[in-house]
């Protein structure tokens, strides 16, 4: 178990994290937050690649000192935009990265097949692969390490719906033995798979619980149609959670709070609604 107690991180005058406390156990944990909320900073600390400015991190009850080798050995970080040499083949790079970590390279072949990169594709230079395929190379690396903690930063960027499905299916399989922290600002990505949600807002942890609890905290949600001024007013108030253009100067809006008119229909809140409501009130 990884314990994070009152962790803060400061870069010069900027505070990236403050007073963050939670425990991590096997399962899928969604880490939500806006851009700049501190998600990547927290992942870097959990990966043993950065050190907190204050607070304590413990692995299996043992607080970590300055040396973070234990954390690096236990965790694998897949960054949001990993730099993959375009001239090197996927297989060669994956073997290198696992060899650098002193890990077995045997899982690579099976995972390349599983993620649709088997056969000749794995031997092609990474620069000749599409963006989605390159993202899958990163996922193969993360899963091939078989470490007890996986830290995935926006892992579905560039994946088509079928690849997302394949990814979430494998994620669920991997989560039986590992702790997976899945950082994203696309709430729908984790709606069906996360056991637990952490929400960061301006460096503070403002929610730690199950998706169901987060949804239950949502205010009433309504759907209505209106013109551009209605959509703009809702957007300005921070109550808008979705908007779809349905005709000339006609919009279908999804919003939090009170019904605007008799025509507005109350609907079941989603995780996205609840997340927007939470971060709106925190802001």
């Amino acid at each position: 178990m990884i314990s994070v107690r009152d962790v803060g991180k400061v870069f010069g005058a900027a505070t990236a994290l403050q007073g963050v406390t939670f425990d991590l156990e096997p399962g899928i944990v969604a880490l939500l937050g806006r851009n700049g909320a501190g998600k990547s900073t927290l992942l870097g600390i959990l990966a043993g690649l950065a050190v907190e400015s204050s607070g304590v991190i413990a692995v299996d009850g043992a607080p970590l000192a300055a040396d973070r080798r234990a954390l690096r050995a236990a965790a694998t970080l897949l960054p949001q935009d990993p730099r993959l040499d375009p001239e090197v083949s996927a297989k060669a790079l994956l073997r290198y990265l696992l060899t650098v970590r002193g890990l077995d390279t045997a899982p690579i072949e099976g995972l390349l097949d599983r993620f649709g990169l088997g056969g000749a594709l794995g031997d092609r230079a990474i620069g000749t692969l599409s963006g989605g395929m390159r993202q899958r190379v990163g996922l193969v690396y993360a899963f091939a390490t078989e470490t007890r903690m996986l830290l995935l930063d926006e892992p579905t960027t560039g994946l088509d719906p079928w690849e997302r499905l394949r990814f979430t299916s494998h994620l669920a399989h991997a989560a039986t033995n590992a702790t997976i922290v899945y950082s994203t600002h696309v709430v729908s990505d984790i709606e069906a798979i996360a056991n637990r949600v952490l929400v960061l807002e301006r460096g503070r942890l403002i929610f730690d619980g199950s998706p169901d609890v987060l949804v239950s905290m949502s205010p009433p949600v309504f759907v209505a149609e209106g013109d551009e001024s209605t959509a703009a007013r809702l957007h300005g108030s921070g109550a808008l959670t979705a908007v779809t253009r349905v005709g000339p100067n006609r919009y279908r809006v999804r919003f939090l709070g009170e019904s605007l008119s008799d025509e507005a229909k109350q609907v079941e809140p989603t995780l996205n609604d609840a997340y927007i409501a939470l971060t709106r009130s925190a802001a």
């Binding site: 990547s40 690649l49 973070r68 960054p79 090197v88 073997r95 990265l97 650098v100």
Partner: protein
């Protein structure tokens, strides 16, 4: 071609292949080519009595030009290139130590090229091989140390890395001769004497050579130990573009 040699080296040693050097950096020596030709052909310089301009030029080439050019080429070629540092930093070996393992073959190639250049200058200028080889390799040690400390410890972009490594190496292998500073600071004492119009040759292993190689070793050690753990390197989790 050098990139391919590096890849082959990695394949042979670990059964894996990664590129550790930006091949475009090999174009940088072209900028120094006119100077190398000028010095090698005895075009420039006023040697003391009994010393030819070819011999003086040969010392300039091996003691100044090769180390400074090597520093710029190595730093430009290695800075922010290769596998993502956040992935490599998770390895069982500290990335600053790993730097040597991944780039050892390339540095050995530079040492061989330096030795060949010294041999070539020795032949054309009729200058003893060792009096050219020792200062050129000493200068290369300084260049490699500057490159390592900058790239592996501070991780600047390629342009900044090349400029900074070039400046540091120039300060060590060029300035002491131009300023007429104490002979303790010069790696090639023969060249220092000749620039003061004093003929004759000093022993190639000089106090300056020992001093600067010791400083280089100390800098490499300090870059590895300060800070001790990779998590304290502030740049490690910040990934910028490959270019300045």
């Amino acid at each position: 071609m050098l990139g391919h040699v590096t890849i082959r080296h990695q394949v042979l040693r670990e059964g894996v292949a990664v590129r550790t050097f930006r091949p475009g950096a090999l174009a940088l020596p072209l900028a120094a080519f006119p100077l190398a030709i000028g010095w090698s052909t005895g075009t420039y310089g006023q040697p003391p009595v009994g010393v030819t301009s070819f011999q003086l030029g040969a010392h300039w080439v091996v003691s100044w030009l090769i180390p400074v050019t090597s520093a710029c080429v190595l730093s430009f070629g290695m800075a922010r290139f290769g596998a993502d540092r956040r992935l490599v930093a998770a390895g069982s070996t500290d990335p600053r130590s790993r730097w040597w393992r991944d780039r050892g073959g390339l540095i050995a190639i530079f040492a061989i090229v330096t030795a060949l250049a010294a041999f070539s200058q020795s032949t054309t200028a009729d200058e003893p091989y060792l009096s050219l080889l020792v200062p050129s390799l000493g200068g290369l040690v300084v260049a490699v140390a500057a490159c390592h400390v900058l790239v592996a410890r501070f991780d600047p972009g390629p342009g900044v890395a090349a400029g900074a490594a070039g400046c540091i190496t120039t300060a060590v292998v060029v300035l002491p001769y131009l300023t007429g500073g104490p002979s303790l600071l010069v790696i090639d004492p023969t060249l220092a004497d000749w620039m003061r119009h004093v003929p004759g040759r000093s022993h190639p292993i000089s106090a300056g050579l020992l001093l600067w190689t010791s400083v280089a070793a100390a800098a490499i050690t300090a870059a590895r130990l300060l800070p001790r753990d990779v998590s304290r390197l502030r740049w490690i989790t910040k990934e910028a573009g490959d270019h300045d």
